[in-house]
Amino acid sequence: MIDLPFIWAALIAFAVLAYVLFDGFDLGIGILFPCFAAERERDQAMTSVAPVWDGNETWLVLGGGGLMAAFPLAYAVALPALYAPITAMLLGLIFRGVAFEFRFRSTRRKFLWDWAFAGGSTLAAFAQGIALGALVQGVPVEGRAYAGGWWDWLTWFSLLTGVALLIGYGLLGATWLIWKTSGALQQKAFSLAFSTGVGTLALIALVSLIMPFLDPIFRQRWFTWPNIAYAAPVPILVAISLRAYLGSRQALGTRAVPGRRRPLCPLLCRARH
């Protein structure tokens, strides 16, 4: 069962996971950007991810490159099917990326780069969520090529997954800021983490409820033995993370005084002082 395609699939899955986690909080900060007070809070938020966003985005190149190298047919079918969302994502990422370069170099046009950063991050994240939904709902294939139209990706389901990813990334961004900042911005991040957390949970539940009705294959894969053994850990892990999240939020919320927080990760906090 463990052959070369399996290893490659695992590698690509890992690249996608790493991308969602790492660039997720970068994009999340962009999504939440309009909630922060101009200049000071925004500077602080952007500074916290400025040195890492580029490396985080590299996972996306690795995922796309890996797909083309190992599964060229899947790459050749999926990308035309996701033509508009992928294009929108790339354009969003361009704005997001150059905003990091230029925002600190300009004064008069700073507000423009604020918008480029927030708009680019939001567009990229929304497009990624739509792409995910479009793949889950399935694409028509004929021979070795995509056989649908160029608006097929647009359904209420893909829009829902788009919104879900926006809010999920927002949660990652908010928790990153709780970890990395202090003062007013951190307080704001606490309340944002609560609302996005509730939203993420609700949307996870909603999407999970819809999927079995989308295609019988999901019912079969989720609810029959032995597949259920692979699928069941997911809701269990969600429940465990929810418990941990609520607990840590309570604990941190009462001690949100700068300098008194306990390091969450010794390796990364070492360099902070």
Binding site: P51, V61, M68, A76, L79, I94, F104, R144, W150, A271
Partner: protein
């Protein structure tokens, strides 16, 4: 071919996005090596001016590198969106080559870039210099893999075909070291070095025109002119060898570059003219008899094929290729001239004494970009109508996507690129217009630059510094 069918729009989109992209690597490959040389010289001699010039160009390098990364991501997805049939058929060969580029080169570049940009105070001079050398090596390694992939498309070897009609690797050595690869690699790396040399030389000259005593500007100008004097002639030799290699493997491209239609012994060298695809002739030709054969076959009576040796649907567009080739060669001749002129001035012991040479150098600062773009247009249009030469036609490579979708995304890319990279060019030019100082500051402290993020220690220290403010 309809003027705006999906295929034409997809080709336009690829041409547009890759032309924008190549500008940045063409500059950063040379600039990374230049930075490594400057830092090495600083470590050896201890002269402050080397560090000052290093710090000056480092800031510009950071912006250019960032824009290269951002525009490069578009390229890696465009194979799938617009050229899915091509991606399916060539994926088993080109996928790994592009994958190696990401794995070995990009991670190497990006990993050490953080140290190079922010680490001078943190890792010590020797290690910092090592990081700079690694960044320079990474850019060259990137060029290696990308040019291997492109060269395989031009002169495919080492492949087999499978039942699904895909190209699959039979011999990786033959795939990577395909016949045109060594020539293309040398030609492109030298081009990148010349591009950087003329930008650096132009900026040095600009500030010398304002103040001849600016020591940093003198160093930039002098080093750049040495590069021009030494590398421009080398590039002529490399270009000639590359041309002979092309004649052997892609004779139709050479015929289009030369504007030759008839196959004959003793071909003339057409200096100027207007090759007409419809009339199958080169109009208004100004030609030197027999010289074409002499250059291409090294024999005045050598036989050289003309475009009529191929059926019309097999011919590349000679009007474009003929002129893009002449623009490239013309710029090359001006580069040779600049190098020779600087040698003459050096011999007279007044390199910076000639205002005319300084002005010429300022005018020549974008020369490398023009030559690189013209050269790539020559080789890419010249290998049409194929994506994989002789095996896979361009018309059979593109995605089953409506013209409306390709057209809409093309317009979006044009608008976004002009806005985003226009702003980038503006910020880079603004940095270049500032006169270099002897106590040139390191990258602004506390000012969070973008940087490759996989160096968490230095990155987080910056965050900490910003937080403490």
């Amino acid at each position: 071919m309809e003027p705006f069918d999906a295929l034409t729009l997809a080709r336009l989109q690829f041409a547009f996005t890759i032309s924008f992209h190549i500008i940045f690597p063409a500059f950063t490959i040379g600039l990374a090596s230049y930075l490594a040389v400057l830092e090495g010289l600083w470590l050896i001699t201890g002269r402050a001016v080397f560090l000052a010039v290093f710090n000056y160009w480092k800031k510009i390098f950071a912006i250019s590198f960032g824009m290269g990364v951002v525009s490069g991501i578009v390229m890696s997805y465009q194979f799938g969106t617009n050229w899915s049939v091509f991606a399916d058929k060539t994926g088993p060969i080109l996928g790994p080559l592009l994958g190696y580029e990401v794995m070995s080169a990009f991670f190497l570049e990006a990993g050490f870039l953080g140290v190079m940009l922010f680490g001078m105070d943190r890792v010590g001079k020797g290690l910092h210099c090592f990081a700079t050398v690694m960044v320079a090596g990474g850019t060259l390694l990137s060029a290696f893999w990308i040019l291997a992939a492109n060269s395989w498309m031009q002169t495919p070897t080492g492949y087999a075909s499978n039942a699904a009609g895909q190209f699959v690797p039979a011999d990786w050595w033959a795939v990577i070291f395909n016949p045109s690869f060594p020539y293309r690699l040398v030609h492109m790396v030298l081009a990148a070095y010349l591009t950087t040399a003329f930008v650096v030389g132009g900026v040095g000259a600009l500030h010398l025109l304002a103040d001849r005593r600016n020591e940093s500007a003198r160093l930039m100008f002098s080093m750049a002119m040495w590069m021009a004097a030494l590398v421009a002639p080398l590039q002529v030799v490399a270009g000639d060898l590359h041309g002979l290699n092309t004649l052997q493997h892609q004779p139709a491209k050479i015929a289009a570059m030369e504007g030759h239609w008839e196959t004959r012994a003793g071909q003339p060298l057409i200096l100027f003219g207007w090759p007409s695809m419809a009339a199958e002739t080169t109009r208004y030709a100004v030609e030197l008899p027999k010289l074409g054969s002499l250059i291409l076959t090294h024999d005045v009576n050598g036989t050289v094929k003309g475009l009529k040796a191929w059926p019309p649907q097999e011919r590349p567009n000679a009007t474009i290729v003929f002129w893009s080739f002449r623009i490239m060669v013309g710029v090359g001749v001006l580069m040779l001239l600049a190098g020779a002129w600087s040698l003459l001035q050096r011999y007279r012991r007044q390199l910076i004494g000639s205002t005319a040479l300084l002005r010429f150098a300022v005018l020549m600062s974008p020369a490398g970009f023009i030559a690189v773009l013209a050269g790539w247009i020559t080789t890419e249009v010249g290998r049409q109508p194929y994506t994989v030469y002789g095996l896979l036609r361009t018309a059979q490579s593109h995605s089953p996507i409506d013209a409306a979708a390709v057209g809409a995304s093309l317009l979006a890319f044009i608008a976004v690129y002009l806005a985003a990279f226009g702003a980038g060019a503006f910020y880079m030019l603004r940095l270049m217009l500032q006169a270099p100082q002897l106590d040139e500051p390191d990258i602004e402290k506390g000012l969070p630059q973008r940087a490759a993020g996989i160096t968490p220690a230095s990155a987080l220290a910056d965050v900490a510094a910003a937080r403490q403010k």
